[in-house]
């Protein structure tokens, strides 16, 4: 089963757990599984069911961003982090 690494800013929503092992063959299935276990993690998803823009996903600490549809296997680590972004005001 894949492991989900919980970002520090959300660890209060998992009772302090920083990793959670869940079932799932895609990133989405795994994240939905952890949300069933810890409903407060529902903040990860937007109203449209997609990943909320305030978060980024990776698998096995690779630099490449992962998507919800990416496959995962037993032993994979899904890494969730808060996005850090912004933009200047219009001229």
């Amino acid at each position: 089963m894949p492991v989900i690494r919980i970002p520090a800013v959300l660890s209060t929503r998992t009772g302090g757990q920083t990793t959670v092992t869940v079932e799932g063959t895609t990133v989405r299935e795994a994240l939905e599984g952890v949300c069933r276990q810890f409903p407060d993690l529902g903040v990860l998803f937007g109203d449209d069911g997609g990943l909320r823009s305030g978060f980024l996903l990776g698998v096995n600490f690779n630099e490449e961003l992962a998507t919800l549809s990416d496959p995962v296997a037993a032993g994979d680590t899904i890494v969730v982090v808060a996005a850090v972004a912004g933009g200047r005001p219009a001229r």
Partner: protein, 178 residues
């Protein structure tokens, strides 16, 4: 934390070097600066609808830098300030900056926001913002030498705190100017 001239000199150099693009980075509680990689152009190239901004008018930490920040939060030297530059528009916290910093109306990260104004490639000033109550308020202003020229005290009686190396807390007023 220490946000003094030496720390700000590093921040400003990173911002000036990125011009005309936006720069971004972070400052740890110890004052250590990490210039981060702005991947806004890569995101835009991949999905221009989801990421309409480019590096000249937006910034996004790469995944490794975002992970570094996250990991620091449980270390003895947590990130205390996220900075980015605004080329040629002034040191304001834009609507997009605020939108991106909040989740459900609360800061996604326990950090202050430093915005650096870069005009024609030269740093003009920087302004520090702290989340107080339900909004961001100016907590300090610095000139191009890194000297503190305005020491604000947002939300009198409820100053925001910055986590310290020893786990103690200080008000933003203590944290912002040295």
């Amino acid at each position: 934390m220490t946000l003094g001239p030496a720390t700000l000199a590093e921040v400003f150099a990173h911002c000036a070097a990125a011009y005309p693009d936006e720069a971004c980075g972070l400052v740890r509680a110890s004052g250590l600066v990490r210039g981060c990689r702005n991947v806004q152009n890569e995101l835009h190239a991949r999905d221009p609808e989801r990421f309409p901004r480019q590096a000249h008018n937006g910034y996004a930490f790469c995944f490794a830098d975002a992970l570094f920040l996250d990991a620091s939060l449980t270390s003895d030297d947590p990130v205390a300030v996220v900075f980015h530059s605004h080329p040629d528009v002034g040191a304001y916290l834009s609507d997009e900056d605020v939108r991106a910093a909040l989740v459900d109306g609360r800061p996604a990260l326990p950090v202050h926001q430093l915005v650096v104004s870069v005009l024609e490639g030269v740093v003009a000033e920087a302004r520090l913002f702290a989340f107080v109550g339900d909004t961001f308020a100016e907590a300090g202003r610095f000139d191009s030498s890194g000297a503190c020229i305005v020491r604000a005290s947002p939300g009198a009686g409820r100053e925001p705190t910055v986590r310290q190396v020893d786990g103690a807390e200080r008000t933003s007023e203590e944290a912002q100017c040295r």
